[in-house]
């Protein structure tokens, strides 16, 4: 991933080498003492330079380790303790930098967030990784804290966990310095809180910033500052390590700014030597002075063997020079090897991630990439090395990216995080892949490099596209829903969505409505709303509409909408609450359907039900009529039977006794009553035949006058017995084609009714007319009880009996008129009634000359409808009444044999 930094010979070292050379030339040619002293001084300065280099190399290793952690955290801001453990594990601090006591992360926390933060660490995700014992200490009460939340290794460092770095000045100052400069910063010597021995340590801090925040100015850095990654090193361990690397013991380490002594070792040199054994170095913003011990051997050797030294000075200089170079190179290569190993570790880390990581040099050429990048762009690492980065991004994106990278390069700080850009990557096959790119610039010995963290966001884009599509589909559905009104409001009831159905239903323009955002109540009938508010004990308003929605999530209720034109519309409104993340109320949605039709249907159903009820009442009435009929018929059958049976018994007794009243009289009564029974039975049979449809007309030429005459003859005995006069008024009428027997039965039924209902001594008139429209009229008029108007319409129903007939115990079965209606209709005619109760009643039969109807009587149902279709014919009854005359001559028509008039005086001597 990263280019290996090439070892370079530092100018200071070259200068020192030349200085040594010059010094030794001078020493060889001047005084031996001076030469001797100078030799020691040169030797010391070399040792100093070596030690300074070694310390710097160690510091570089620490810093690089911390940078690795920091980079990992930039990639994954939510890095947890487990991941941290793995990353630090990669760094293998125990093997490689054992002198580092602890590596940790301290995060900046505001006091206001402290409780949440503490709770978060205590129950950190992953169960086992939570730290219930976590506690911030010490509590200074400051507004801002910087708390150590991750440490590695944890063993032996538990005391540092939860420490507030800002609670102690040195640490606080160092953290502030790191924050403000963006560079690693080192503390003054201090004692670690977890320290158990009398040991002092320094802490190196590397600042952490928000991943994509700008951090080029002081203000931006302070704003984006998240905390620090730090490493703590015991000073004794650091010195020991450096001494082990160089073989040169360190005598003293002093912080020049503060004057603090970091380290004091051995017995100080007693030799008054030039201060060439003291070097200075800048580590993490601190100026250290390092004092190395003079090599005792060199010291003694120089003092004792000066003469020899003088002689072999030149050779010695050469050897020393070579030694210097070799020593320098050794120190360099040691640091270099370490850096390479570190880089390998980071590379392993980079390879392990799915994210594509591409490293570019400042000329935007690819210098390395990880497995993730190979997977994303295609091609193994080596294959694309050296290729311009423009190859892996869409041409349109390239200018933007380069200017961003250039800006980052100018800003220069290796800690300045780049912005996250949305770009299009192009793989080897030429596919365009949407990606998110974060960039970071860093330095290595080989120069400065830019690392791009490229994340494939195809899946995320796909998900976003689906959401967008779903949303658009919903909007389209709303738009297409023209019969259902969908209106959505904010939590206060102001309308935000008004679909086409709502437009159509309410007559408002949807755009205007969503622009003006009127209150939802505007569309509701104010009176209805007020009534409902009263019912709920609320003020009329939106609260009334949403009552119950919060508890039940949806409500359905009938309301009345008021349209733009002021008209009303009955609707059924379902209302639901819309809730967002965290159950926050986003508003309400109402779905209304027009229930006008439904209500109409309901009304129609009500009507049908009412009709059905009416029918039931009618049927009940009919049932009653039937019961009455059964009762009447049994009475009417029993009465003649009584006479028959009774007289037969008496006859038997008379015959047995051989004396008594004349038998002929009794026989006559038996006959008469048998006859009555017979005609009753016949009526019943006739009607049942008509109703069952088995009744056929025997058609032939009929003379109406003959028919009327026969009927009158039949009724005469009864009429005479009661002194009733039957008056005929017969106009000549043509022959008709009909069933004479049935027609006679019809006329007879009317006549016997007329007689039955007449008062004794009254008159019954029978008339025939050749009416208009080819109809023949037969009217029968009486002046008896009459028929109440409210009963006239059911007069022709089977079994119907007038209540006047019941009251006056006038016998009858309720069959006569039903039979009349059946017969007349069978002839294509109709029968009607006109009656003024107590005065006059006229029954009229009208039969067409051309009876051409079916020869079959089918009275089923028809008889009941007849009265309604017929209009009363008072004119003919009036006319008949006007012409009524007892002395009217017999009909003049030839062949008319009907008796003209039957006088009341006529009597066969048999009274009732």
């Amino acid at each position: 991933m990263a280019p290996r930094p090439e070892p370079t010979v530092r100018p200071a070292v070259i200068a020192a080498a030349f200085l040594v050379l010059i010094l030794f030339v001078l020493a060889a040619t001047s005084s031996t003492v001076r030469a001797n002293r100078r030799y020691v001084a040169v030797n010391n300065s070399i040792r100093t330079a070596e030690t300074v280099d070694a310390i710097e190399a160690r510091m570089m290793v620490y810093t690089q380790s911390l940078n690795g952690v920091s980079a990992a955290m930039a990639v994954d801001p939510d890095l947890d303790q487990l991941r941290f453990h793995q990353i630090v594990g990669h760094l293998a601090i125990n093997d490689r930098i054992p002198e580092v006591q602890v590596i940790g992360v301290a995060q900046r926390v505001e006091r206001a967030e402290l409780n949440d933060y503490t709770a978060g660490v205590k129950r950190a995700p992953g169960g086992a990784l939570g730290y219930p014992e976590f506690q911030v200490h010490p509590d200074t009460g400051a507004e801002e804290l910087m708390i150590i939340t991750m440490i590695e290794p944890q063993a032996g460092n538990e005391a540092a966990f939860g420490l507030d770095l800002l609670s102690e000045d040195s640490r606080a100052d160092t953290a502030a310095r790191a924050r403000d400069t963006g560079e690693p910063a080192l503390t003054a010597p201090l004692t670690l809180v977890q320290e158990t021995e009398d040991q002092r340590a320094v802490v190196i801090m590397v600042p952490l910033y928000e991943a994509n925040a700008a951090a080029s100015t002081l203000g931006q850095r302070r704003a984006a500052f998240l905390g620090v990654v730090y490493a703590a090193v015991r000073i004794d361990d650091l010195v020991g390590r450096v001494a082990a690397d160089t073989g040169i013991p360190v005598e003293q380490l002093v912080d020049l700014r503060t004057g603090d002594s970091l380290y004091r070792g051995g017995e100080g040199s007693t030799e008054p030597l030039p201060p060439t054994n003291v070097g200075q170095l800048n580590v993490g913003g601190r100026l250290w002075s390092v004092t190395v011990a003079t090599d005792p051997y060199v010291l003694s050797w120089a003092q004792r063997l000066l003469p020899v030294l003088t002689m072999v000075g030149g050779a010695f200089i050469g050897v020393l020079f070579v030694g210097l170079i070799v020593s320098m190179a050794t120190a360099r290569s040691r640091a270099h090897a370490l850096a390479i190993e570190m880089t390998d570790e980071l590379e392993a880390l980079a390879q392990a991630t799915n994210e594509a990581i591409v490293t570019l040099d400042l000329s935007n050429r690819i210098v390395g990439w990880n497995q993730g990048a190979a997977h994303l762009f295609g091609g193994e690492s080596g294959e694309r090395t050296g290729a311009p980065a423009a190859e892996i991004f869409a041409a349109a994106d390239w200018p933007g990216l380069t200017s961003e990278l250039a800006a980052m390069a100018r800003a220069g700080s290796r800690r300045t995080p780049g912005l996250i850009l949305e770009l299009t990557a192009v793989n080897q096959k030429g596919d365009h892949i949407p990606v998110e790119v974060a960039s970071s610039i860093w330095s290595a010995r080989g120069g400065r490099f830019i690392t791009l963290f490229v994340r494939d966001v195809t899946d995320r884009h796909e998900a976003e596209r689906r959401i967008r599509e779903t949303t658009e589909t919903l909007v389209a559905v709303l738009r297409a829903t023209t019969t259902i009104a969908v209106i959505a409001t904010d939590p206060d009831g102001r309308v935000g969505v008004f679909n086409a159905g709502a437009e159509q239903m309410l007559g408002y323009d949807g755009h205007e409505v969503t622009r003006d955002r009127p209150d939802l109540t505007r569309f509701y009938d104010a009176a209805e709303l007020a009534a409902r508010a009263d019912q709920l004990g609320l003020e009329p308003g939106f609260e009334v509409l949403v009552d119950g929605v919060a508890e039940t999530e949806t409500t359905t209720r009938r309301w009345t909408y008021i349209r733009a034109d002021g008209s009303t519309l009955p609707v059924e409104v379902a209302m639901a609450a819309m809730r967002g993340e965290g159950d926050t109320m986003m508003g309400y949605v109402t779905v209304a359907t027009d229930v006008t039709e439904r209500m109409a249907t309901a009304a129609a159903q009500e009507d049908a039900l009412a009709r059905e009820r009416e029918m039931v009442v009618k049927l009940t009435e009919l049932d009653q009529v039937k019961n009455d009929f059964v009762s009447a018929i049994s009475h009417d059958l029993r009465t003649p039977l009584t006479s028959i049976v009774g007289y037969a018994e008496i006859l038997g007794d008379v015959i047995a006794d051989g004396h008594g009243r004349p038998m002929s009289e009794h026989v006559e009564m038996i006959e008469r009553n048998a006859q009555r029974l017979l005609s009753l039975v016949e009526d019943l049979l006739t009607l049942s035949r008509i109703e069952s449809g088995g009744f056929r007309l025997q058609r032939g030429p009929c003379r109406i006058d003959e028919i009327v005459g026969s009927a009158v003859d039949a009724v005469t005995p009864i009429a005479e017995a009661r002194g009733i006069e039957v008056v005929l008024d017969l106009d000549p009428v043509p022959l008709i084609a009909g069933d004479a027997r049935e027609l006679e039965r019809a006329v007879l039924n009317l006549l016997s009714n007329a007689v039955k209902f007449s008062h004794d001594g009254g008159a019954v008139e029978v008339a025939t007319r050749n009416g208009a429209d080819g109809l023949i009229e037969i009217t029968v008029t009486d002046h008896g009880l009459g028929i109440p108007e409210d009963e006239q319409h059911q007069l022709f129903s089977r079994f119907f009996r007038s209540r006047l007939a019941e009251q006056n115990a006038i016998q009858g079965t309720g069959l006569g008129l039903a039979i009349v209606a059946g017969i007349v209709q069978g002839h294509g005619g109709m029968v009607g009634v006109a009656s003024v109760p107590g005065e006059v009643t006229t029954m009229t039969i009208r039969i067409p000359l051309d009876t051409g109807g079916p020869g079959r009587l089918d009275g089923d149902g028809d008889d009941r409808e007849v009265p309604a279709e017929l209009s009363p014919i008072p004119s003919s009854s009036g006319e008949a009444g006007g012409r009524r005359s007892t002395d009217r001559p017999r009909p003049r028509l030839a062949g008319c044999s009907a008796p003209a008039s039957v006088g009341a005086s006529t009597s066969n001597g048999e009274g009732p």
Binding site: S634, H635, V645, D653, R661, R672, A809
Partner: protein, 124 residues
């Protein structure tokens, strides 16, 4: 010999009953409707009344009730002679004050027997 009032709107039935009872030696008065029957009973209280039920103007039941309301006639035996044969009718008849209830058609012989029995009882 007893005086028996027969009230029935059917002349043949009146004739039949009248013939049978006259033959047994009773004095029979015939009326053809309720009004006439009640008037005749009040004018000349009979020993027994034979009443049809279904009659014009006053029905047999109404006549029966009216007779029972009249102090001088309250104890006269009343026999209903009717075609109404249902049990409920019989109960109504007795409730109105009838002493016997004969359903048409009936045997004149049986009618005569019942009337004789009732007259006997009334005399005692």
């Amino acid at each position: 010999m007893s005086k028996i009032l027969v009230v029935d709107d059917d002349p043949d039935i009146c004739e039949l009953v009248s013939f049978k009872l006259t033959a047994l030696g009773h004095d029979v008065v015939v009326e053809h409707d309720g009004d006439g029957g009640l008037a005749a009973a009040k004018a000349d209280p009979p020993d027994l009344v034979l009443l049809d039920w279904m009659m014009p103007r006053l029905t047999g039941l109404e006549v029966c009730v009216a007779l029972r309301d009249d102090d001088s006639l309250a104890r006269v035996p009343i026999v209903l002679l009717t075609a109404k044969a249902q049990e409920a009718d019989v109960q109504r008849g007795f409730a109105a004050g009838a002493d016997d209830y004969i359903v048409k058609p009936f045997s004149p012989r049986e009618l005569a027997t019942r009337i004789e029995a009732m007259l006997d009882r009334a005399r005692r």
